[in-house]
């Protein structure tokens, strides 16, 4: 696991933090080109994320999906991009710039916390002669209701909510699945590959895996026309090819 990555309960490094670190490490400006450059490194971290923190993983995958989009446009310039996807990319750039500014400013705030202070009067000192003044709202049923509500709203022992996150497939298992199916079918389209993956995140992770194989030269990816499906083939010369 890369040594710079640490997940700490309550104060973990989020995906924007990581992405900013990767861009700043390379002394790059925040734009599409730099984001495409750091996409691989970001996805490497994603693979290393510990399993139990599903919500954190969810946050990372959302950003990862945009990075994969940016990366795939840079690899396959013919890839059709919807206006919604364009907005998604623009939004990530903005978020990263926003976060960069906040982080910069937070270091000023840290320094300001060390300057002289303002002190207020201790309001508890003013209690001299209490006058017993109950109000009609103070009744046993009302108090009972309030305490029940407080008990219900107390944070549970496990601090981070683990619900509401879609089941995620590890990148490794998708790569394994892709390899196995490629061996049997020899040539398949991306649509076939993702057909039984209903949710967006699975498709994204699959696409990432595909790009990974493409990069490693294990498959060749062809796209006959701008809006046609992407064809995936193994690069084993002993097997017959078609399509």
């Amino acid at each position: 696991m890369p040594e710079t990555f640490a997940v700490r309960v309550g104060e973990f490094e989020g995906p924007l933090d990581l992405l900013l670190k990767l861009v700043e490490e390379r002394e790059l400006q925040i734009n599409k080109i730099s984001l495409a450059t750091v996409a691989d490194s970001f996805l490497e971290y994603l693979k290393e994320l510990p399993r139990p923190t599903m919500e954190i993983l969810g946050n990372f995958v959302v950003i990862a999906s945009t990075l994969i989009l940016i990366k795939s446009i840079s690899l396959l310039p013919t890839l059709p991009v919807t206006s919604e996807e364009e907005e998604q990319i623009g939004d990530l750039e903005r978020r990263l710039k926003l976060y960069q500014l906040i982080r910069e400013t937070s270091s000023f705030v840290r320094e300001a916390l060390a300057t002289p202070l303002i002190f207020y009067r201790d309001p508890r000192q003013r209690v001299v002669n209490p006058i017993f003044s109950p109000t009609p709202e103070i009744t046993l049923p009302a108090l009972h209701l309030v305490i029940e509500q407080l008990v219900r709203n107390l944070p549970k022992t496990e601090i981070l909510p683990t619900t509401s996150v879609k089941r995620l497939i590890s990148i490794e298992s998708v790569i394994a699945d892709l390899t196995r199916r490629m061996e049997s079918v020899l040539s398949m389209s991306f649509k076939d590959f993702v057909k039984d993956k209903s949710d967006k995140i699975s498709v994204i992770v699959s696409f990432l895996a595909l790009l990974e194989l493409f990069k490693q030269g294990l498959v060749s990816v062809t796209q006959p026309g701008h809006f046609s499906d992407i064809k995936i083939e193994t690069r084993d010369s002993n097997t017959p090819r078609y399509g």
């Binding site: 508890r124 017993f132 108090l143 107390l154 944070p155």
Partner: protein
């Protein structure tokens, strides 16, 4: 900043009587200088909302005597007003968990409770005692008058007492870091 302003700041913040000797020690000045600065402060505060109150060798800041009626009215208004959700929440925690620290009240409510605690103290609904475990801190507990207003002879007669206390204890025991 001149000595007069320093004295004013200390008296404002302390909100209790200090002797000239106390001030001299705090400010590393001799008592004569402090006495002179106190004269200046009295003059500066002339016509203002606050005054320097002297009692023997003790001094403190207070509201101007002309404000007496206004302050009395404010006290009445304050006591007549409902304690609201924040008040009810704080009161129940003091009832079920008292004597209890402010840290535990804050943690249970998920917000800071210092102003509402003062309000409940002024109304005589709760009182505070020194924390045997921490001399600088306080513990808050319900007053007898509050219990009789609620018609309970002892705390354990509160609705669902056992179950609520167990739950509160279970969740807060390991969580409070203050």
């Amino acid at each position: 900043m001149d000595l007069t302003a320093k004295i004013e700041a200390i008296l404002f913040w302390k909100a209790e009587p200090l002797t000239v000797a106390d001030l001299a020690r705090s400010l590393s000045r001799d008592e004569h200088e402090i006495a002179q600065a106190l004269e200046t402060l009295t003059i500066q505060l002339n016509g203002r909302g606050i005054v320097l109150v002297r009692n023997g060798d003790e001094v403190m800041l207070g509201t101007a005597p002309a404000m007496g009626g206004l302050i009395e009215q404010l006290t009445k208004d304050e006591l007549a007003r409902d304690i609201g959700k924040a008040g009810l929440e704080t009161l129940t925690i003091v009832l079920y968990r008292g004597p209890v620290t402010r840290a535990e009240i804050d943690y249970t409510r998920g917000v800071n409770s210092s102003f509402i605690l003062r309000n409940l103290l002024v109304r005589g609904l709760i009182n505070k005692i020194t924390n045997p475990a921490d001399a600088r801190g306080f513990l808050y507990r319900p007053t007898f008058k509050l219990l009789s207003w609620l018609g309970v002879k002892e705390i354990s007669e509160l609705p669902d007492y056992r179950r609520v206390v167990d739950k509160l204890r279970e969740i807060t025991t390991n969580s409070i870091t203050v």
